[in-house]
Subunit: 469 residues, 2 copies
Amino acid sequence: MALPLRLEPALIKPRTPAGVLELLPPDQIAFQRMLDTIRRNFERFGFLPVETPVMELTDVLLTKSGGETERQVYFVQSTGALAKGDEGTPEMALRFDLTVPLARYVAEHEHDLAFPFRRYQMQRVYRGERQQRGRFREFYQCDIDVIGKDALSVRFDAELPAVIHSVFSELDIGAFTIQLNNRKLMRGFFEAQGVADAEQQALVLREVDKLDKRGEDYVRETLLGDGCALSPEGVERILQFVKVRSTSHADALVQLDALGEGNDALREGVAELREVLELVRALGVPEAAYALNFSIARGLDYYTGTVYETTLNDYPQIGSICSGGRYENLASHYTKSKLPGVGISIGLTRLFWQLREAGLVSSAQSTVQVLVTQMESAHLPHCLAVANDLRLAGINTEVVMEPAKLAKQFKYADRAGIRFVVVLGEDEIAKGMVTVKDLRREDQFEVSRAELASTLRVELAQAEALASR
Amino acid sequence: MALPLRLEPALIKPRTPAGVLELLPPDQIAFQRMLDTIRRNFERFGFLPVETPVMELTDVLLTKSGGETERQVYFVQSTGALAKGDEGTPEMALRFDLTVPLARYVAEHEHDLAFPFRRYQMQRVYRGERQQRGRFREFYQCDIDVIGKDALSVRFDAELPAVIHSVFSELDIGAFTIQLNNRKLMRGFFEAQGVADAEQQALVLREVDKLDKRGEDYVRETLLGDGCALSPEGVERILQFVKVRSTSHADALVQLDALGEGNDALREGVAELREVLELVRALGVPEAAYALNFSIARGLDYYTGTVYETTLNDYPQIGSICSGGRYENLASHYTKSKLPGVGISIGLTRLFWQLREAGLVSSAQSTVQVLVTQMESAHLPHCLAVANDLRLAGINTEVVMEPAKLAKQFKYADRAGIRFVVVLGEDEIAKGMVTVKDLRREDQFEVSRAELASTLRVELAQAEALASR
């Protein structure tokens, strides 16, 4: 039996852990464009950037004991700690959202921040989710929050729908509706129906949340059951209430009027929603983009006033693409200061994945705007000089570094989504000219090297202006 | 003894793990501007974005057994795995650089990528470094690499100095020098001095690397010692060789000529450096920005051709701010395909920290460009409408949401680094005018609301054009 002369080391199969979304460059470009658009709009509304470390100290991160969140946490251990066989909970863990890090950040830097503190944060978070299609263990959250010290006017609650409108208009993924509700209004209404304590309200709201999935009859049955202790009339009033959707700005005001005088909580909730609606309009948000929806509850033990959800009109099955609300106190685990806030979050990784599934992600256009071709090795210095001119004019330019057949170079540009191809052969170099091929318009023109950069800048600016209309 | 009536939960001290750099918003803005500048320049040279998950499978990440790198790795465990008390090495670990993830990515997606594959990646990496001032356990790396299939022309080695030049010119952190060397040239030279095998060369190079710190006499003594087996003449030739620094493009060519015919390796290295120098010049890099430096070696068992280091002329103590080189085969652990490449890396977190220590980071200017003040609650809808105009024109605008004394609002803008303040009082609202205060020029003017956005756009564009000169 012949033995192999040389033992090759076995290859390791290159692969990523389950539950992460890794993209090829065309999709990564599309994803990065979405991130840029979101950031640009967050900044347009005066929010300031914050980044926090991916690892937090375990005792700081897991202030609430137990619960679903803790079960999904990833812990981090250095090689040293692992080698020592340290027992117990590791010292560090990966953040599972951006809210706990924000609370820690604001409490830690309280005396260096100006309040109301307006921050945005766009980073990845980590959750040990069950393995499932469309569920991610690593995903981007894009959050904005306004944090007040001691108090924060409800007026800030009106800015967030304006940000949401600005972001999703520019993302250009179809018509959407920002749905508004108010937890005080809900509490007041439910109390008036005899659903007095918070636990019972939570029970009813969890049932109401099944309306879309299980249908009205199913929910009616459950609400009439023993657990809720509701009268048939009470159940009907609740079902009427949670079905309220306003159809215009004026209709929203009518719906609020229709709730009547009610109790203190209801009146306060109505007054807050009125103010929010008025200012949302003053901020220029078109009335087709927002609506009251009395079924929106969000995190039951967290939000206390305004709550938001956003849905795509043509893709309701995607669910909420941007949610949030008002909370009483951000950082009670870390500081005695009272820090009320209001915020929203976009789960971009999941949204991107869903949009791509729905065929709504365009990944046809490269970040590279111009390809400078090369016909002969001797031309390379000329090609590089042309590329230098273009880059100095801010145009993203790739140079073919080894000569090849022109047809092959064109094919490459076309596949890669590069719009303009610059050709310079012997004749053109002698004349100080280049030929530009526009692959989108299937057109070509000659231009002097001196005018090449400014000509392409105009073309690219026009294309961008067209695209952003 | 009276017992407290209510037990308040103890507060947890908000703090981050050791070895991370968390920034307040003004510094975060400065940091983000550096990231943006680097990305813009990477894209300008035709590099495509890639992001990889922060967690890799342990067997994929740690292909090389043992070594310094493995000792510094952070392992990741889900709550479930921890609870089960799983023994042995955890399934996942945090990336410690962007090179191993790139190798895995290229091998995994080999058939979906176009080669030469030009990618950039700007993400955080994790190392369990010893705790020390200026050492980070979480830090940004900004990498670009060109990966060829089977072969990759040395011409690509010339693009990287052009990228480095473009990035650091625009970062505007002072004069810098891109230092070039070639491992083949070094190998050829050392072989000619009788330092034949790789291990011995490594030994000599490690000593040579101490020249700046320990001085020439110290290094001479060591090289004359038993371990190196060098003749006194050999040692002097080596010391002369590693002191070579070219002073201009022409001088660089003279220095290469001066090496003479030598052996194959030397000739090959000289030819490669010549070609790189010629194309670097063709790419428009000014000759003051690059130089030969025959002492640069970089990762001894990794790089095989061109190597780069970049230093700030006025801050040599910072060390190399951007390094890299040519390697034979990126992904031999994952694929049989031969994937040679060339790349560079900027360790941005450390660089930022050092620049800030040296007082070279300007964090005076907010992302917010305009603050719209509010004198009375009744004016708020007007303030919001003005802000809407500005935002639609792409101007980052914050609105003061609660009325306050104007002086206080101005002070806030000044401290926050917001340049323009818009004031609209009763009179101005009636006339459809606003007053704009330019806090930088300490100047003010009246303008109609219809013309406000376009006026400020011009002002801001001028300021930007001035700043980028």
